[in-house]
Each structure stands twice: as structure tokens, then as C-alpha cells.
């Protein structure tokens, strides 16, 4: 009985981890692209004129 409960608990944790991965990592993976123009602009503006 205790083993069954542990098994069910482990499945629930695995399911929760999968849902959280899907939601937070997978679906929002493209979010950092919104910050790309700022990062690129910052790095571009640190380039000195005449510095090859």
C-alpha cells in the first residue's frame, strides 16, 4: 500500500516537472529574443571608432 502511494507520488512529481518544463522552459524559450536588440546595441556601442 505504502509502495503504491510512493509510486503515485513519484508519478505526480514527474508529471508536475514535465508540465513546469513545458510551460516555463519550452513555451517561453523564445522570450530572450526580445532582449537581443538591446544586447546587440549595447555591444555595438562599446566598439570604438577607428578600433579595427
Amino acid at each position: 500500500m505504502a509502495g503504491t502511494r510512493r509510486h503515485a507520488g513519484a508519478l505526480a512529481v514527474a508529471d508536475l516537472a514535465r508540465v513546469n518544463f513545458d510551460l516555463t522552459v519550452w513555451q517561453a524559450a523564445s522570450y530572450p529574443v526580445v532582449a537581443v536588440p538591446l544586447l546587440v546595441s549595447y555591444i555595438a556601442l562599446t566598439q570604438q571608432r577607428g578600433d579595427p
Partner: protein, 350 residues
């Protein structure tokens, strides 16, 4: 090979890698044929060396500087990208007939068209049953593209605007070339280009806003009014982006306090109006539904961690700002990067 050693020690190379290539891994996993996936580590290594060479290899930097001098190269890239997207975007968009594809573009186009027609733009779920998360200011800004049926130009035009912003902020020819070249190296950029996402364009709006407000002291009344309009557009791209709009206002505090107060107040008013218009959002059908989704995604542990990261990022972003446009861009980047906003800002079921 001293440039390789310099590159490995340069955090900017790693930051470029993290923001340009790591989001691209999702694209590789989803779309790349299985036999080609084994080449991914080689691609990642090549891009890392490429970023290092752009920042530390004398000859490569010389080539880029020459390319940056000729504006015709930037124009040619924008035209080619526009033609490419005119062909590919409609094909990707047609996936909605099978209830597939990204609905982010549909949200923006429909919100924009409904606003122009004088119709209520919210509470209208799209073909996937999701409510639009774009808001009025931003939707009106892109209206010329949506009304003319040229929405596919959004990201190409944004890419073309980025080197102009950098040059306007006193960037060199090399800076203009980097601003054009670097986004093109990201698989995620290409994915968002063909799916019609507005995320890259939003980033360019924030870069433009940062550069414009940096020069606030020297602006006349009309350009300042244009800055206010751009702040409203940027602050209403998504409900969470009122925060970086207000953050840029904070950067102005040392240079022009009245201007800073105006812009911070504007950010606050945008949030207040959103709450007044859409709260309570019991059925989660308005643009502020993004907040509920974000809270659910962060979970009980992620929420306080995200709040602390945002607060720390805000303090650091404001503290590091000095009298250079570069520090302002870095500050806005930190603000966007530190937000607990790993919100589901796009829903892709392709």
C-alpha cells in the same frame, strides 16, 4: 590565437551565445531533421568562435567595418529578408487552417484591425482559443502594416531600424554592421521571422526608446511628444512591458528629473489604466491574463525568486547607468533579462 583566449574571457561573447543561440535550441529540436541534429554542437562552437572573432579578431573586425560603411549592404539585407518572408510567412501562417502554428501574429493583426475599425479589441479569442495579449498602443503602431496587408515586413523593418538606432546613438560603422549581422546568426530570430512574432520588433522599439530618451535633454517639444507616444507603444506591447518603459524613465533621473518623473508617471498610468479596464479578469480573457499565466508558470518557488531577481536587476540597472548610450542600452537589457517574465508570451503548437 590570442583572440580566442580574449574571446573566452569576454563575458559579452558568452552573453551573445546565451541570447542568440540558446533560444535557438528549441528551433533545432523542433524543426531540424534528425540526421542533422548531430551537427548541433559543431554549429554552437562555430557561432561561439564567430562572436569571439567579431569582437576580437582584427581582420574580421576590419571586414565588418568596411561592410558597415556601405549602407547599401544593410538595405540589401532588409530587402532580401522582406522578399524571403513575403514567400515563407504566408505558408507558415496557413498552418492555422489545421489549428497549428503560432497565433501571436493573429492576435496582433486582429487587435490592430479591430481598433482601427472602432471595435472592442479584447474578449475575442483567436483560432486556438487564446485571448490577445498585445495592447492598444502597440497594436495601433503596427496598424499601417496590418491595414496594408504587409505584416510580413514587421521583423525585416525592425532589423533595418536597429543599425539606424545604433548610428543615431553615436555608434561606429562597425557598430552598424554588428547590429545587422548578429541577430541574423540566431535560429530563434529566423523562427520568429517566419511565424510572424512581434518579439524582435518589440526589442527594437525598446532600443529606439532607450536611444531617444538618452537624448531627452536636447530634444524639442515635438520630439519629446514623439518619445511619449513611443513610450506608450512600448509600454503596451504586453502588460509586463510597462515595467522596462518606466525603467528607462528612471535612467533619465540623473540627466533630467522632470523628464524622468513624466516618463515614470506615464508607465504607472499605463499599468493603472490596464488594471482599471480589465480587473478582475475572472475568465482570463484580457491582455492582463498574461500575469496569471506568468504566476502559474513561475510557481510558488519561482515567484519570490523572480521578484527578488527583478528588484535586484532594477537596482543594478539603474546604478550602472552613466553618461553613455551604451550603459543605457545595457540597463534596458538587464531590465528585460532580469524580469520574472518568462511569461508565456507566445503560444506555438506547430
Amino acid at each position: 590565437m590570442s583572440w580566442v583566449a580574449d574571446s573566452v574571457r569576454d563575458w559579452r561573447v558568452w552573453a551573445l551565445f546565451a541570447f542568440l543561440q540558446v533560444p535557438g535550441l528549441r528551433v533545432v529540436a523542433k524543426y531540424l531533421p534528425a540526421p542533422l541534429r548531430s551537427w548541433t554542437p559543431l554549429w554552437l562552437l562555430a557561432t561561439l568562435l564567430f562572436y569571439g572573432a567579431l569582437l576580437h579578431h582584427r581582420r574580421v573586425r576590419g571586414w565588418c567595418r568596411s561592410a558597415g560603411r556601405g549602407r547599401v549592404y544593410v538595405l540589401a539585407i532588409v530587402i532580401m529578408l522582406s522578399i524571403f518572408n513575403a514567400v515563407v510567412y504566408p505558408r507558415v501562417d496557413s498552418l492555422k487552417s489545421q489549428l497549428r502554428g503560432s497565433d501571436e501574429d493573429d492576435n496582433l493583426i486582429q487587435t490592430s484591425l479591430r481598433l482601427v475599425r472602432g471595435e472592442r479589441p479584447i474578449y475575442v479569442p483567436n483560432y486556438l482559443g487564446n485571448p490577445p495579449t498585445q495592447e492598444p498602443g502597440w497594436a495601433l503602431m503596427v496598424a499601417p502594416l496590418t491595414l496594408s496587408g504587409t505584416y510580413f515586413l514587421l521583423t525585416p523593418l525592425a532589423l533595418g531600424a536597429l543599425p539606424l538606432i545604433v548610428v543615431a546613438a553615436q555608434g561606429s560603422e562597425l557598430a552598424a554592421a554588428l547590429a545587422t549581422l548578429l541577430p541574423l546568426s540566431s535560429p530563434a530570430f529566423w523562427e520568429l521571422l517566419v511565424t510572424g512574432s512581434d518579439l524582435f520588433a518589440i526589442g527594437v522599439v525598446f532600443a529606439g526608446l532607450t536611444a531617444a530618451i538618452f537624448g531627452w535633454r536636447d530634444l524639442g517639444a515635438a520630439p519629446r511628444a514623439a518619445c511619449v507616444a513611443l513610450t506608450i507603444a512600448a509600454g503596451t506591447t504586453r502588460v509586463v512591458f510597462a515595467y522596462p518603459a518606466a525603467l528607462i524613465g528612471c535612467f533619465l533621473w540623473k540627466r533630467h528629473r522632470k523628464g524622468a518623473v513624466l516618463l515614470i508617471a506615464l508607465g504607472t498610468v499605463i499599468v493603472a489604466l490596464e488594471i482599471l479596464a480589465w480587473w478582475p479578469d475572472r475568465d482570463q480573457v484580457t491582455p492582463i491574463s498574461l500575469l496569471a499565466k506568468g504566476v502559474a508558470m513561475l510557481g510558488p518557488i519561482g515567484l519570490p525568486v523572480g521578484a527578488i531577481a527583478t528588484a535586484a536587476g532594477t537596482v543594478f540597472a539603474i546604478a550602472q547607468v552613466d553618461d553613455s548610450a551604451a550603459s543605457w542600452m545595457r540597463g534596458t537589457w538587464l531590465g528585460l533579462a532580469a524580469m520574472p517574465a518568462r511569461w508565456r508570451s507566445r503560444i506555438s503548437r506547430a
